[in-house]
Amino acid sequence: MNKVRKNAIEATFDIKDGCTIMLGGFGLCGIPENLISALVEMNVKNLTCISNNAGVDDFGIGLMLQKKQLKKMIASYVGENAEFERQLLSGELEVELIPQGTLATRCMAAGYGMPAVFTPAGVGTEVAEGKEVRNFDGKDYLLETALKADFALVKAWKGDTHGNLIFKETARNFNPVMAMAGNITIAEVEELVPAGELNPDHIHTPGIYVHRIFKGVNYEKRIEQRTVRKK
């Protein structure tokens, strides 16, 4: 059981054109920078990407959008990503928008072996189209199915050689739920330690969900909205 890989390229060798990949992160926070770079470098095409956001024009998943590597984007928020919005409105890119909580829950459902769950988000909106609606205790809910991916690409703060992961602050976000939803889950970490060095009570993602792990390099950790107050 050797899960450790040298780098992103070695860890992603079998991600081929047409794959479905899930990417952790919220905005640019906690995104798998090394793995995205590898996909850009390998120029894999026709990908279906599942991620809360699509990065910004020149960073994160935005880099793959620029290179037209995506066939379809499944996300909850477009926001101020001009290129994403342009490809969406022009129809160049197939886009499925999912409520953020539903997106997280559908990934978790996959990781928890639940094929479908009922959630209230989107009842009465276009999100509900084609979905079963059921009333529980006087309130309507939609039946939402588990969401899996061929590969889940996540970024953690620390990891060990068994694939156990610890996230830092709000860089946790979608990473743990997506780690559970990949047929193959690849984790990049800022610090990779031998099994036994992480406190077993502090681990967020158990290694059983992680198939490959490597120490990432050159983290840029770009800030999207720098907001400060004066001292």
């Binding site: 905005g27 209230p120 709000t170 907001t227």
Partner: protein
């Protein structure tokens, strides 16, 4: 005079109660955090995975791993806790968040809200708004009373794709405080110096005006 964004936030802050867990959306709602009344303890939830959000960091102390749902750099307060997106919406969905404040493009008199898309023109995405409006017990919309073309955003029926149905309870605009009441907007307060007639003329939906309408105080 119509309220500015800061004053809208200030007025909404008066709705906070001690012990509330509160989710503040992007834009005007974020500003509410600056006006929490003295003696009131609230815990701010940020749906990207934080309870106990603090003010913006001092210059040079920004932490790229610590942002709010608007992707702004922030800080934490003592007692804060981080969690993943599934648990974050778990606590929202199970009704543990006491108050949600968010923006809107349109609200209608049944309490429907539209906020994420102008077909063919603009797509922001729903982000967490659909989950929040479908789940929260207590939702306040913070927005301008009219759009840039001067058209009312308080409608009989929303024209844009909906974010949620029958979920909005209260609306605070630059002109007024209103509540959704039996399929109508009920005027509760007006901005200082703004007349009931002006509010009426800028509200496309049915407006209930009962008795004297007090001016908003802060």
């Amino acid at each position: 005079m119509a309220l500015d964004k800061t004053q809208i936030a200030q007025r909404i802050a008066k709705e906070l109660q001690d012990g509330y867990y509160v989710n503040l959306g992007i834009g005007i709602p974020t500003l509410v955090a600056n006006y929490i009344p003295a003696g009131i303890n609230v815990v701010l939830q940020s749906e990207n995975g934080l309870l106990g959000m603090g003010p913006f960091p001092f210059e040079g102390e920004e932490d790229p791993d610590l942002i709010n749902a608007g992707k702004q750099t922030i800080t934490t307060v003592p007692g804060s806790v981080f969690f993943d997106s599934a648990m974050s919406f778990g606590m929202i969905r199970s009704g543990k968040v006491d108050l949600t404040v968010l923006g809107a493009m349109e609200v209608n008199q049944d309490g429907d809200i539209a906020s994420w898309k102008i077909p063919g023109k603009m797509v922001k995405g729903m982000g967490g708004a659909m989950d929040l409006v479908a789940s929260a017990k207590n939702i306040i919309v913070a927005m301008m009373h009219t759009n840039r073309e001067g058209e009312s955003k308080l409608l009989k029926k929303c024209t844009l794709p909906l974010t949620g149905v029958k979920c909005i309870k209260k609306i605070v605009t630059d002109l007024a405080v209103l509540e959704v009441n039996n399929g109508k907007f009920k005027l509760l307060e007006r901005a200082p110096g703004v007349s009931v007639e002006e509010i009426k003329s800028k509200t496309e939906g049915d407006l209930i005006v009962e008795g004297d309408i007090p001016e908003i105080t802060f």
